[in-house]
């Protein structure tokens, strides 16, 4: 198999993978990586920790 054929096969494979992931995303109930509550949990941990830091430094 020459380089050109291999490149074509790789290009096709890339397209196949993108299609799978995008269709999964489109069909997904939520397209998000994290739900709002997960995201809020993460930010609350950050802000509470920083607030504790401010109190300690006072």
């Amino acid at each position: 198999m020459n380089g050109q054929q291999q490149e074509a096969a790789l290009s096709q494979e890339l397209k196949r993978r993108i299609d799978i992931i995008q269709s999964d995303e489109a069909g997904h109930e939520s397209h998000r990586a994290l739900t709002s509550s997960e995201l809020w949990t993460a930010w609350i941990i950050v802000f509470v920790t920083l607030a504790i830091g401010l109190v300690v430094s006072l």
Binding site: A9, I18, A26, A33, E38, L39, A42, V56, S57
Partner: protein, 482 residues
């Protein structure tokens, strides 16, 4: 396996192709062990020891918790979560934020500086730990800065290369053995430390080399730990893409890089304050007995290899993405070796790496914190957690992520402004600080400035009408919704 099948497999594991869910290696527990393996290396002891320069044990614990918890979560939101969602490594994802040229610029400046430094430091740490074993077991007298330490460092670098050459499966297998052993070693070290001192003495121990202003000491200790947390940024997205879900990437990484790191750092800090040396490899052999000492030292030495292997894997992937066509067809093993050459050269100066550690960590933190702010603003706010995968891989100007000649000016300007804010509040070179620094640190404002500025600049420079940056809904999602 045919040549094409092999090429496809290589493109997934060792290239930039998205990794599908059924191909991903790491579940929650696996990824937790990978991160624990990353966290417990000699560098954690060094960070603990450096924290003890400025604050005592009580404030040190607070500084470590604040710096690591807040910094690691912000860093993970800007890396693993996104990569895991799409199975795409972070430097390809970053094309949607900084543009193709912007990613290359960031990689060949900030990231190369940071990662070469960490790689060389890990090699030197392995070298010093091995020299210590030799000194006690064989009665040698190898100096910490001797050329033999460099030779051991080069062996460490070669071992990490050999591990990475086989891919992430070997990293997982290695971590499953080394990480639990390391966890036990850490518990053993804590028990030993508390047989040598009391909690009261530990809390009363004075910092080793503080400034006159206690508030400044605490702020520097927090800033230093924030810098350590942000310093994971260059590698985490490439590891995160191999996890089975964003949840299996966020929380295990948090457990490893924040919680376990803090425990390991506490050992270094307690050692520095009570035994006069942050490095357990120095006192372990005499304190713990020859058998326990050698076993523990070997685990710690090998931990540096696992940490280095993860760095090399991520940065080799990044090197392939950022270099365009230059390394597009270079064999994976060769590319990994190319990344390690500068680290091997720097490992000839082990003393320099240790002496400039604080400067190195905070300086890289200045850039990485600002980049995190920009990434979070772009992905979570402007794009509402949606990226067009096709555009990530479309060539040059055909991609909506081409922006202005390959550079997203909004992201570049906002990140630079974040760095500027950091340096205005705290200059790591001169240690000069603004009065605000004592209350805000420098990394947190850097994140905030780049975050806000990116939100403000994007509509101005990449309006939805222009189509630049694809800030409208990806068309395939729109059609699916109709």
């Amino acid at each position: 396996m045919s040549q094409t099948q092999e090429a496809v497999r290589q493109a997934g594991t060792f290239g930039s192709f998205p990794v599908l869910k059924n191909e991903r290696e790491w579940g929650f527990a696996d990824f937790a062990w990978v991160n624990i393996g990353l966290a417990i290396a000699t560098w954690a002891f060094l960070v603990g020891g450096a924290t003890a320069l400025f604050v005592g044990f009580g404030q040190g614990i607070a500084a470590m918790i604040i710096g690591n918890v807040a910094g690691v979560i912000i860093m993970l939101l800007a890396t693993t979560v996104i990569s895991s969602r799409y199975g795409v490594e972070q430097y390809t994802i970053l094309r949607s934020i900084f543009g193709f040229g912007g990613v290359a610029l960031i990689f060949f400046t900030v990231i190369t500086f940071t990662e070469v430094g960490w790689s060389a430091l890990l090699g030197a740490m392995f070298g010093r730990a091995t020299a210590q074993v030799s000194n006690v077991v064989f009665g040698t007298a190898i100096d910490p800065n001797s050329i033999l330490v460099t030779v051991f460092a080069l062996i460490c670098i070669a071992a990490a290369w050999a591990l990475v050459a086989k891919g992430p499966v070997s990293i997982k297998a290695f971590n499953r053995i080394v990480a639990p052993g390391l966890a036990l070693v850490i518990v053993g070290l804590i028990i030993y430390l508390f047989t040598q001192t009391t909690w009261t003495d530990l809390m009363a121990a004075a910092p080793l080399a503080p400034f006159d202003d206690p508030a400044l000491n605490f702020a520097i200790a927090v800033e230093f730990n924030l810098g350590v947390a942000f310093s994971w940024w260059p590698i985490m997205g490439s590891l995160g893409r191999l996890t089975k879900s964003p949840q299996a990437s966020l929380w295990p990484a948090f457990i490893g890089l924040a919680i376990v790191t803090i425990i390991a750092q506490l050992v270094g800090m307690a050692s520095a304050l009570t035994l006069g040396d942050w490095d357990p490899t120095v006192w372990l052999m005499t304190a713990g007995g020859a058998v326990f000492g050698v076993i523990a030292l070997l685990f710690i030495a090998f931990a540096n290899i696992t940490s280095l292997a993860s760095i090399v894997y991520s940065n080799t992937l990044a090197l392939r993405q950022a270099s365009g066509k230059l390394f597009a067809t270079t064999r994976w093993e060769v590319l990994a070796a190319i990344f390690l050459v500068p680290a091997a050269i720097v490992s000839f100066f082990p003393g320099l790496l240790y002496d400039q550690f604080l400067l190195f960590v905070t300086f890289s933190g200045a850039f990485l914190s600002a980049v995190c702010g920009t990434v979070i603003a772009d992905y979570f706010v402007l794009r509402k957690q949606r990226i067009n995968l096709g555009a990530l891989y479309a060539p040059g100007s055909k991609s909506r992520y081409h922006f202005h000649g390959g550079f997203n000016l909004a992201a570049m300007i906002s990140s630079l402004a974040g760095v500027g804010a950091y340096l205005w509040l705290y200059n790591p070179m001169t240690l000069e600080t603004d009065a605000l620094f004592n209350w805000t640190t420098a990394s947190v404002p850097a994140v905030a400035v780049s975050f806000v500025l990116h939100l403000l600049l994007t509509p101005l420079l990449n309006s939805a009408k222009s189509g630049r940056g694809g800030y409208e809904l990806p068309t395939e999602l729109e059609s699916a919704k109709k």
